[in-house]
Symmetry: C2
Subunit: 138 residues, 2 copies
Amino acid sequence: MPAREIYHDAVCTALKKDGWIVTDDPLVLTIGLRSVFVDVGAEKLIAAERGPDKIAVEVKSFLSPSPISDLEMAWGQYFLYARALQKQEPDRALYLAVNETVFQTLFTEEAGQLLLAGPGFRLLVFDSNAEEILQWNP
Amino acid sequence: MPAREIYHDAVCTALKKDGWIVTDDPLVLTIGLRSVFVDVGAEKLIAAERGPDKIAVEVKSFLSPSPISDLEMAWGQYFLYARALQKQEPDRALYLAVNETVFQTLFTEEAGQLLLAGPGFRLLVFDSNAEEILQWNP
């Protein structure tokens, strides 16, 4: 199984362990007449609920040889999806999910810090081996 | 010459015709310890001045088979560069430059409109054949 799908499945399992019910996998998001997931490089969103809370999770593997390109793509997708989601389902919060290694490298340096400081940005850190959520931010 | 470089040169010429002095081509932008332009897919920035106004221009060719991916990448780069530029040179405004065809297709549909509505986003539209600037937004 490609690492991208392993991460996707690990986040699904981690959410369930954390008490979330996965309601849509994938969650279909449309922007205008386009479904964003027919496009190259698009990540499938996971929709989950726990009590009154509803989230959509974009799992990013950061597997390309260029971490800055991965970061730019993650940022672009996050903000486009967040705006589309706000129109489609305004009470569902979008999270970008990254594994612990990516968080401790790319997100501790300035480029990642700039993203973390972005208005309305939400990040979830997971352990891909233990299949557990380590951090919600915020 | 690849289309990407043709567009870059067309924007340089268009800026000069519009009374701008191109001061740096490329403008080197660093984020933490990284120069963003050693990375895959990075566009070279053009720095220009006209009287008291200073701009940096990121020329985007939108040549991939996936317009939404191009848009996400353009958005991610724009916001990362804008934040880096704000630290490095806060009085220089960043513009994303796209040709007329891209503007009239991708930017008239919802995905492009979401980007145009993004806070602090600046767009410049150019005619790549006539090598002229058609629109500043804002």
